[in-house]
Amino acid sequence: MLDPISLYVHVPFCQRRCPYCAFYSVESAREEEITSYPRLLLKELQLIKESWRGSSIGTIYFGGGTPSILPPSLVESVISAAKEAFQFEDDIEVTLECNPGTVDAGKIEAFISAGINRLSIGIQALNDDRLGFLGRIHDMNQAVETLKIATEAAGVDVSADLMAGTPLDTRESWYRELEKLLPFRPDSLSFYSLTVEEGTDLALRLEKNEKICLGSDEVVDLMMYIGDRLADAGYRHYEVSNWALPGHECRHNLHYWRRGRYIGLGPSAHSFDGKRRSWNKPDVTSYREALNNGNLPPSEYEVLSDAEVMSEWVYLALRVADGLDFGEYQEMFGEVPSSWKSLLEKTAASGYGDFDGVRFKPNDRGLLLADEISARILG
């Protein structure tokens, strides 16, 4: 019996594009375009289900874009279609990304009835200036309101996404935002640091010498501060950008980091069967065209070499607090390279984590250096 797989459902619509975002999504799409979209997902599901026959699903994730734009009934139709096509694990986790400004209490209730049991809320900031800088559609009151509704609702885990590193960020601003956020006791939290991606509005503004994000050292200082506050509040830093109350880690994401198999539905979504990773046509139009011609939408794929599997495994392992285990490595790839031990010893001794000779567990500081450590280890 293979491990359960995960299902990712991409919803590429946003009310308005945020200036820092490099994800593909369609801005202010017509009502009709949005409501007709889930039918494409169902079509794709029908086309691919054969090749995943016999799989059971452990987690589903509606990501975006802004999935909370969809009417709950349509979300439900996708969930039921998936249930028909595959088996569901009893403890299935079904997450929906949900942006303040697109939901009210009724809609959230309806999502829950549709089968959603985890809401990931795009709070980003609890400060109107920072929200303005980030170009979000919501203000602080809406963010607080959405948090309130979600955390009071029964039967869902709530996660909140926040963005650090705008030029407006200070330790004091974060102190106040955390003071507002933590009393809601979200089950899990993600903190991302703002990066300037190619082709975004921010990149253009940076070119004009506008101050767009804090320096790397300043961001690190903030992240360390935030990390300390979250630890005090009982959250565990379980991945580079993710914290959770014990037992409330996002299982869908953990599945990615453990290199589990997954199906991605929708434009630009990726699927992975353990060796082969494929990705769909990048935009709605070409995705729709492919499906209407009765074709499978994947546009490209790669088959990983053994060395690539190994390097993915290593860098993903170093991104999570559980870290890199020599025993697990040996089982999969054979002898652990001889240089690793002394390098990890020195890494631990430099204050980046713990190493007991067989497992290296990065701490807050080590997680921020995950890529550096990976590159050093892989040589």
Partner: protein
């Protein structure tokens, strides 16, 4: 013999030597105008790019003078850089005359002057030429006055030309056959031919370019190089037109080539005399010197796997560069590599670039150094061409360093700053000669080590590009030199050691540590940088550890992209040299060379 003229062109870089040469070749019908799309004489890519002539070449032309009839003109090119003074002197020795070209907008430059003196020493007839008279900024009168002062010629003898437009070029040809003496020599005497250059032909081996002074060189004749006394056979002889043109023999006054079937260019030394084995000459032609490299540096492959490739490339390179030497060495920090010897810094840069470009190698070059002579208490003499091998100097030991004689020619406005720079570089002032009201020639003796780092660049910058510079080896002199070591995280890095004058150790220590701090990127672990003489640390600084290198998001769609990014980072790291746990970018070694002055 009477109808032959052998001449060189003496000119500063960019004063128009190549352009005039092209015009001469065109006018004599050696090439057609459209063929000379540029600069026939400089045929290596690098030479064209840098606008310098590295190797001397030669070309023969047939010229029919309206009054005097047909002549063979042999133009012998001279390399145009300070590192190659000896080669220049051998090329000049092969001639009876020289065209002295001065750019009317620039005036005469130091190197031109020293080459001019060389030519006068060799009794060459000088034909003064002022070029670029078509330019509005041409200062014909002033330039002409300087030339008259300098060579004592009649103002009327000076030919004013525009090599670019062709004006005046026919007059140059007329002057060549009228003013320059025909070659002289004894056709009956035993053969004596001067090697003024030697190139390497992949199929035929070394091909010396020669000028016959006495006797005749015939194809098939057994010959001998007088400096090594090695015997060969003249497999082929010929003239040098644009290509090699085979003939039966070369006689007195002729310029041409011989193919002796000799694999190593090293055996066909510039300045050597070729004679016949059967009836050898008693004395070689004067002036032969064994050229020795003056500047040394370690060359290491960035990737240790490329060691064998590097060795092969050095071997090939040495085949057609007689001045370049190499031998294997090992460094604790850099592994297996080679200690290479060069005539000077430019020569080093050229070799380095050829290795990287033509042979596609990724190299680490250590800081260059000169060769020191150390005499121990027991009287043992050691030659040190690698700073890492310099012993700790005790009071009973003597260290000697090479000194050079230099001439710096500059407009008088810059005398002050040049004096200051020269004293900073331990220069020993000799004399100042006034060339005219506004230009001087200042003579200094310098320790060679002081000019191999950025001296020339500094000289150019403090004189707004006007000062020029030339040098010649003078001799070894005792100096208080010491080895300065660099330590990274407490470990000495042998490849970063330098030898410096006692009075400059502190300054160098500061400079090296400061430079390293800039070029060593922040990395996983902090890096402590120290400079030490013996066990005494004289400068220290550090590179803080990196704090963040991670992408924030890594979900389903990011994993492939992320892996590719990581592969790129790893590629980047491969170009770094790992010393202990410290990662040093390969540029670090050379960045040290670009010494800033603040």
């Amino acid at each position: 013999m009477k109808r032959t003229r052998n001449f060189s062109i003496i000119a500063h870089i960019d004063h128009g030597k190549s352009t005039l040469a092209d015009r001469l070749l065109e006018l004599t019908g050696t090439i057609s105008a459209h063929q000379s799309h540029g600069q026939v004489l400089d045929d290596m890519d690098l030479e064209q790019e840098r606008g310098i002539t590295i190797k001397a070449h030669a070309v023969s032309m047939k010229y029919v003078d309206e009054e005097l009839g047909e002549f063979t003109l042999n133009l012998i090119d001279t390399p145009g850089h300070v590192d190659f003074t000896y080669e220049v002197s051998r090329s000049l020795a092969a001639c009876e005359g020289a065209l002295l070209i001065v750019d009317a907008t620039q005036g005469i430059q130091a190197q031109t002057l020293s080459n001019l003196y060389l030519a006068i020493e060799h009794d060459l007839q000088i034909i003064p030429i002022i070029n670029k008279i078509d330019l509005p900024s041409a200062q014909i009168e002033e330039t002409s006055a300087t030339l008259v002062d300098l060579i004592g010629c009649d103002p009327d003898e000076i030919i004013c030309i525009s090599a670019k437009m062709g004006d005046g070029v026919p007059e140059v040809l007329k002057a060549i056959v009228r003013m320059i003496d025909p070659p002289s020599g004894d056709p009956e005497a035993p053969l004596r031919a001067l090697i003024f250059d030697s190139i390497f032909d992949t199929y035929r081996g070394a091909v010396p370019y020669i000028r016959v002074f006495d006797g005749t060189l015939e194809q098939g004749m057994p010959i001998r190089f007088m400096s090594s006394n090695k015997g060969y056979m003249a497999e082929e002889v010929g003239h040098l037109s644009l290509k090699r043109v085979v003939t039966k023999s070369l006689s007195v006054g002729d310029v041409g080539y011989v193919i002796p079937g000799c694999k190593m260019i090293r055996e066909t030394r510039v300045g050597d005399t070729i004679t016949g084995s059967k009836d050898p000459a008693r004395e070689p032609l004067p002036g032969f010197k064994l050229i020795k490299p003056m500047v040394f540096a370690g060359l290491y492959p960035t990737n240790t796997e490329d060691y064998a490739d590097l060795r092969d490339s050095l071997e090939k390179l040495a085949l057609n560069d007689a001045a370049f030497t190499w031998e294997p060495e090992t460094s604790i920090a850099l592994g297996f590599g080679f200690r290479c010897g060069f005539l000077g810094m430019l020569h080093m840069e050229v070799v380095q670039e050829r290795l990287e470009r033509e042979y596609n190698l990724d190299l680490i070059t250590t800081l260059p150094n000169v060769e020191y002579r150390v005499t121990t208490e027991s009287g043992e003499v050691m030659k040190i061409d690698n700073p890492a091998k310099m012993p700790l100097i005790s009071r009973q030991m003597i260290v000697e360093e090479p000194f050079i004689k230099t001439e710096i020619m500059t407009p008088t406005d810059y005398i002050g700053p040049i004096m200051k720079l020269s004293l900073e570089r331990r220069g020993e002032y000799k004399t100042t000669e006034y060339l005219d009201g506004s230009r001087v020639n200042i003579k200094f003796d310098f320790p060679l080590t002081e000019v191999i780092y950025d001296f020339y660049d500094r000289l150019k910058s403090i004189s707004r590009g006007y000062a020029s510079f030339d040098y010649e080896f003078e001799g070894m002199r005792p100096s208080n030199m010491q080895r300065l070591d660099v330590l990274l995280n407490g470990e000495p890095v042998d490849a970063l050691s330098v030898i410096v004058h006692q009075d400059k150790a502190y300054e160098w220590g500061q400079r090296l540590t400061r430079k390293l701090k800039v070029v060593i990127p922040r990395q996983l672990f902090a890096v402590a940088i120290q400079a030490a003489v013996g066990s005494k640390v004289i400068a220290r600084t550090s590179v803080k550890a990196l704090r963040k290198n991670v992408t924030a998001k890594c979900y389903g769609g990011d994993i492939t992209r992320k892996r590719k990014l990581l592969e790129k980072q790893r590629e980047g790291k491969k170009r770094m040299k790992q010393i202990g746990t410290v990662e040093i970018p390969q540029e670090a070694f050379l960045a040290l060379l670009k010494v800033d002055e603040d």
